[in-house]
C-alpha cells in the first residue's frame, strides 16, 4: 500500500514541484509547465488602405496600434471592416475599434476572472477509488502467473472473451512468472472525439471474431503467433472519463509497470490521447529519446495552444515537447485530415519529423512510401513504438471510429506494413486506438483492427525467430513452385 502512494506521488511529483505554492496540488500535464506550448502564431499585421486613413483620425495611438496588429481578424474580416468604415464617422470608427479591443479582452485569459484550473471535490471519500488495486489478500491464494480461462484441452475456449484469447494477468508478478512477452491491455479513455464510443474499443477487440491468435498460422510468415509468443490479457487500465488529464497520469504508471517486466505492452484504446502517456512511460523505462515512433493516423495530432494541455489531438506535440521522443525519430503515415496549416508543417519539419501524407501516396504510390517509412523507422533508434490510429484506414474498412476521414489506406496496404515494422524492428510497444464499435453496426471495424494486431503479433514472432530481412515472406506459402529456403529444410 505504501508503494501505491509512492507511485502516485512519483507520477504527479514533477508537475507539483514546478507548479508553485498556490497550485501545489494540481494535475499538471507536462514536465515543464513553464513552457507549456509552442508559441502561438502571431496574427498577420494589417495593411491599412490609404482610402481608410481619413476615417482613422479619431483613433488613439493604442487603437491604431491594435488595428495594425491584425488582431481584429479573429472577429471580422479586414475587407468587411474597412467597407463598414466607409459608412461611419471617424468617431464611430473609434467606437468600433474600441469594441473590438473590448472583445479581445474578453477572449484572452484574465487572471482573477477566468479559472486556470478545474477544481475537484476533495471531500469525496472515494477520491482515489478509481485507481486503487484490489488487495491480493481478498483473493484465493494462487501462484503468480497468467490465469488460463480454458476448461478444455481442445475446443474453442470457454466463452470469456480476452484479447487474442490469451490467459489473464492481473499483476506485474503474473507477467514475470509467466515470462509474458506481449501484454495486451485496454485503456477505455474517451473524451475529445467528434463522435464517441472509443471507450468500448477494448471490449470490441476482445469479442472480435476471427483473429484469436492461437487458432492458426499467419500464412504470410507461416508462424502461429499464439504459440510462438507468450501473450497475456492484462485487463483494462482505470480511466477517469471526466478528465483526460487525470487519466493519462495513471495510464503512464500502468504502461510503465508492464514494460518494466520486459513484456511488450499493446495498449488498446480508447482515444489517441493515450499516445502521450504510452510514450512517456517508454521514456521512463528506456530513457528519453531512445525510442522511435511510427504514428499511423489520418490526423497529425501535434496540436497545441489549446485550453486543455492534453486531448486526442495533441499527443504528438506533447511527446516531442517533453523530449520523450525526438522529432527526427517520429515517422507519420497516412495523414490527410483537414487542419494542419503551413506553419504546422513548417514546425514539423523544424522538429525533423518524417511525415508521409496521403498526398505523397497519391504522388508516388504506396510501395515507395512504405519502403521509406520502414527505413526511417530503423534509422536512428533500435527501439520502436507503433501508434496506430485506426482512422488511418479508409472508413470503408473502419467506419467505427470517432473522426473518420475518407481517402485512407486499405487493409492490403496496412497489414503488410504492420507485419514488416514488427518483424524488422525491436518493438517496445504498440497502441491501437479510436475503435468506436457503436459507430459500426457491422463487425468490420473490430475485425479489421484485430487482424492488424494479429499481423503485428506475427511480425513480433518473426523477429523472435530471426526472420528480419526486409519484406520477408514465406516461400512455402508464396508460391507452389518457388524453392524453399533453409527455413523449410
Amino acid at each position: 500500500m505504501v508503494s501505491r502512494s509512492s507511485i502516485l506521488w512519483a507520477a504527479l511529483g514533477t508537475g507539483m514541484a514546478l507548479a508553485g505554492v498556490a497550485l501545489a496540488q494540481e494535475i499538471v500535464i507536462g514536465e515543464d509547465p513553464a513552457v507549456v506550448t509552442r508559441a502561438p502564431t502571431p496574427p498577420k499585421p494589417l495593411d491599412i488602405p490609404k482610402e481608410a486613413e481619413a476615417k482613422l483620425t479619431a483613433l488613439t495611438p493604442d487603437q491604431r496600434a491594435y488595428l495594425k496588429s491584425g488582431e481584429s481578424r479573429r472577429v471580422v474580416k479586414p475587407e468587411v471592416m474597412f467597407k463598414r468604415f466607409e459608412s461611419l464617422s471617424p468617431k464611430e470608427v473609434a467606437n468600433y475599434v474600441s469594441a473590438l479591443m473590448a472583445l479581445k479582452e474578453q477572449i484572452d485569459f484574465k487572471p482573477g476572472r477566468d479559472k486556470d484550473r478545474i477544481a475537484l471535490d476533495t471531500s469525496s471519500p472515494l477520491f482515489n477509488a478509481w485507481t486503487l488495486p484490489r488487495p491480493a489478500t481478498l483473493n484465493p491464494k494462487r501462484e503468480a502467473g497468467p490465469i488460463s480461462l480454458q476448461r478444455y484441452v481442445g475446443g474453442m475456449g470457454m466463452g470469456i472473451p480476452t484479447f487474442a484469447n490469451a490467459p489473464v494477468a492481473l499483476t506485474p508478478e503474473d507477467l514475470i512468472a509467466g515470462k509474458v512477452e506481449v501484454a495486451i491491455v485496454g485503456a477505455p479513455l474517451d473524451m475529445g472525439s467528434g463522435w464517441r464510443d472509443a471507450k468500448n474499443g477494448p471490449l470490441a477487440l476482445r469479442t472480435a471474431m476471427g483473429a484469436q491468435a492461437p487458432y492458426g498460422n499467419d500464412m504470410y510468415s507461416m508462424i502461429n503467433p499464439g504459440t510462438a509468443l507468450r501473450i497475456a490479457d492484462y485487463g483494462d487500465i482505470a480511466v477517469d472519463n471526466l478528465s483526460t488529464e487525470r487519466s493519462v497520469q495513471h495510464v503512464r504508471e500502468a504502461v510503465r509497470t508492464i514494460a518494466k517486466t520486459g513484456a511488450i505492452p499493446i495498449v488498446v484504446g480508447g482515444d489517441h490521447s493515450l499516445e502521450y502517456p504510452d510514450l512517456a512511460a517508454m521514456a521512463d523505462v528506456h530513457g528519453k529519446g531512445k525510442v522511435g515512433v511510427v504514428h499511423f493516423d489520418s490526423h497529425y495530432d501535434a496540436g497545441s495552444d489549446r485550453v486543455h494541455l492534453i486531448d486526442h489531438g495533441q499527443p504528438v506535440y506533447r511527446v516531442i515537447h517533453e523530449g520523450h521522443v525526438l522529432g527526427k525519430n517520429y515517422v507519420q503515415v497516412g495523414l490527410r485530415a483537414r487542419g494542419p496549416d503551413i506553419d504546422t508543417f513548417k514546425w514539423m519539419r523544424e522538429q525533423g519529423m518524417n511525415y508521409h501524407t496521403m498526398v505523397e501516396v497519391e504522388k508516388i504510390g504506396w510501395d515507395k512510401v512504405m519502403e521509406a517509412a520502414v527505413k526511417e523507422a530503423k534509422r536512428n533508434t533500435d527501439k520502436l513504438w507503433i501508434s496506430f490510429d485506426i482512422d488511418v484506414l479508409d472508413p470503408a474498412f473502419m467506419p467505427g471510429t470517432g473522426t473518420p476521414v475518407p481517402g485512407g489506406l486499405t487493409m492490403r496496404e496496412a497489414q503488410p506494413i504492420m507485419r514488416r515494422l514488427c518483424a524488422e524492428n525491436n518493438i517496445v510497444g504498440i497502441d491501437l486506438v479510436e475503435v468506436a464499435p457503436y459507430l459500426d453496426s457491422s463487425y468490420k471495424t473490430a475485425h479489421n483492427s484485430a487482424f492488424l494486431l494479429n499481423a503485428c503479433l506475427a511480425g513480433i514472432a518473426m523477429h523472435k525467430k530471426g526472420l528480419t530481412k526486409p519484406h520477408w515472406l514465406s516461400p512455402l506459402s508464396a508460391s507452389s513452385k518457388a524453392p524453399l529456403g533453409k527455413e523449410y529444410p
Partner: protein, 441 residues
C-alpha cells in the same frame, strides 16, 4: 445448507451479540479494536460488496494472521481512497497561455456582422408552405442573439446543449442534431386540438458552446446563456446533452425567477443523486449538487419513473430526508399509473405555479428509446408519458423544459429521436392548450 447457521452466527456476532464459541468469533476477537469496528460497519463493507456473512466465510478459511492481513488491506483501501493533501492533486491545470482562451464562449456583437439585419427570428424557408431542408427544432425560425428572441416575442426557445461526458454509453452530444433532423415536432396535437406552432411563437436558438474535455468548464456558459433566454420571458426548451445539463438549466431558472419559485419535475430512470464523486459535476450527481449547493430545495422536486441499480439506498434516504417527492417505478407498479400521474399533476399545481420539466430519455422503456445514454429496462410507455407531459405542461406556467440524454448513435432507427420529439411536442401542446384557455378566460 451447512453454511447457513455459521453465517447467521457471524451476523449475530458482528451485530454485537455475545461472542460465539466458533473459530470465526475467536479470529475477530483477536483483531485490533479499530479492525473490529471496521468489520462491523456494514455500510463500509458494502463498498467492497461484502456482508458480515461473506466476511465470516472468508475468515473461516484463513489463519488469524491472514484474517488480520485481510482486514488491514480493506482498511488500507478505504484510507487510500480518500483525498490526501500533499499526495493527491486537488485540481486539473489548464493552459492559461492558450491564445483565445475564452474564444469559444465569447459572443460576437451584431456590429461586426458583414451584413446588417434587424433583430428577430430568421426563417430559413424559401417557400411559404414547403420546407427548405435546413433542419431546425420544430421547423422554427432561427434566433441567433438574445435581441432576436425579444424582437420576435418568442415564447419557446429551443437550445441545443451537446454536452456529453459520463454516460454509460456516449453520444448524448448528438441529441440536438438528431431531434432537429427527425420528424415529430410539428403539426396539430390531436388530443389537445391545437397546433403549438400556430398558438405559440417558437424559435431555434441553436447550440451552445461546450468544452468537450470538461463538464465543469462547460456549465457556467450554459447557465449564463439559458439565463439570457429565460430573461426574455421565453420558456427555455433545452435539448441535451447528458443529465449534467440539469444543473446549469435549473440554476439559470433560479437566477431568473428566484430560488424556490418553481417546481422541478424530473422524469428519469436515474435519481442523479450520487454524492461521493471527486468531480464537482456529472450527470449522475446533478440533482445532488443542486440540493447541496442550495440552488433548489427537496420540496421543490418531484421525481417520476426512477428505477434500476444505480441509485443506492443511501442516496434514496438522503433525497427522502430533503423532502423530494419520489414516484419511482415501484410506486407505479403498486398504485397504478393513473394514481401516480394524478399525484404528479397535483404536485405541479400545488407548487409556486411555475414548472420546470427535466425529461431524461431513460425514463422511457428502451423499446421506445433505445438511443438513450443510460437506458434501463421496465420504463414508461409512450402512451403513459405523452398524456402526462401534456397535462403537466398545461397545469402551470412552463418556464423551461429539458430533454436529455438522447443518444442517436445507439439507435440505428428513427424511433428514439422521434419519441424525443413527441415528448417535446406534447409539452408544447399542453402550453398551447393553456394559452388558448387563458385567452378565452
Amino acid at each position: 445448507m451447512r453454511k447457513l447457521p455459521l453465517a447467521l452466527s457471524a451476523l449475530a456476532l458482528l451485530a454485537g451479540s455475545p461472542a460465539l464459541a466458533d473459530d470465526v468469533a475467536a479470529k475477530i476477537g483477536a483483531l485490533s479494536p479499530a479492525a473490529q469496528a471496521f468489520v462491523q460497519d456494514e455500510a463500509r463493507l458494502a463498498l467492497f460488496h461484502l456482508t458480515p456473512a461473506k466476511l465470516a466465510d472468508a475468515f473461516r478459511g484463513r489463519t488469524p494472521e491472514e484474517v488480520a492481513a485481510y482486514v488491514a488491506s480493506l482498511m488500507q483501501v478505504a484510507q487510500d481512497a480518500a483525498f490526501h493533501p500533499g499526495r493527491d492533486a486537488s485540481a486539473i491545470a489548464l493552459n492559461p497561455g492558450a491564445s483565445g482562451f475564452n474564444a469559444s464562449t465569447v459572443l460576437k456583437p451584431a456590429m461586426f456582422d458583414e451584413f446588417r439585419r434587424d433583430p428577430g427570428p430568421i426563417s430559413l424557408d424559401h417557400y411559404l408552405f414547403q420546407k427548405t431542408g435546413i433542419p431546425t427544432f420544430a421547423h422554427a425560425p432561427v434566433a441567433i442573439r438574445r435581441e432576436d428572441l425579444v424582437a420576435g416575442k418568442v415564447e419557446v426557445a429551443f437550445i441545443g446543449v451537446p454536452l456529453d461526458f459520463s454516460s454509460g454509453w456516449r453520444d448524448g452530444k448528438h441529441g440536438p442534431m438528431a431531434l432537429r433532423s427527425t420528424d415529430g415536432l410539428v403539426g396539430t396535437d390531436a388530443a389537445a386540438g391545437v397546433d403549438p406552432a400556430t398558438v405559440l411563437s417558437l424559435a431555434d436558438f441553436g447550440d451552445l458552446s461546450i468544452d468537450y474535455m470538461s463538464v465543469e468548464r462547460s456549465v457556467d456558459h450554459v447557465r449564463f446563456m439559458v439565463g439570457q433566454v429565460a430573461g426574455t420571458g421565453a420558456a427555455a426548451f433545452v435539448v441535451g446533452g447528458d443529465h449534467a445539463v440539469m444543473y446549469p438549466d435549473v440554476a439559470a431558472m433560479a437566477d431568473t425567477y428566484g430560488k424556490g419559485r418553481f417546481t422541478l419535475i424530473q422524469f428519469d430512470a436515474h435519481a442523479e443523486a450520487e454524492a461521493t464523486s471527486e468531480h464537482t459535476l456529472s450527470d449522475s450527481q446533478s440533482l445532488h449538487r443542486l440540493l447541496a449547493d442550495g440552488v433548489i430545495t427537496g420540496s421543490q422536486v418531484v421525481q417520476v419513473g426512477t428505477r434500476g441499480p444505480e441509485t443506492s439506498s443511501a442516496d434514496t434516504a438522503r433525497l427522502a430526508r430533503s423532502g423530494v417527492t419520489m414516484l419511482g417505478m415501484e410506486r407505479i407498479e403498486k398504485d397504478g399509473w393513473d394514481s401516480v400521474a394524478a399525484r404528479v399533476i397535483a404536485a405541479a399545481k400545488a407548487g409556486p405555479g411555475a414548472i420546470f420539466v427535466s425529461f431524461d430519455m431513460s425514463v422511457l422503456d428502451p423499446a421506445y428509446a433505445a438511443g438513450a445514454g443510460r437506458p434501463v429496462q421496465e420504463g414508461l410507455t409512450m402512451r403513459e408519458a405523452v398524456p402526462l407531459i401534456r397535462s403537466v405542461c398545461a397545469s402551470g406556467k412552463v418556464i423551461g423544459f429539458e430533454l436529455l440524454d438522447s443518444a442517436p448513435i445507439l439507435d440505428p432507427t428513427y424511433r428514439s429521436a422521434q419519441a424525443g420529439n413527441a415528448i417535446l411536442h406534447a409539452c408544447l401542446a399542453g402550453m398551447a392548450q393553456r394559452k388558448v384557455a387563458e385567452k378565452k378566460g
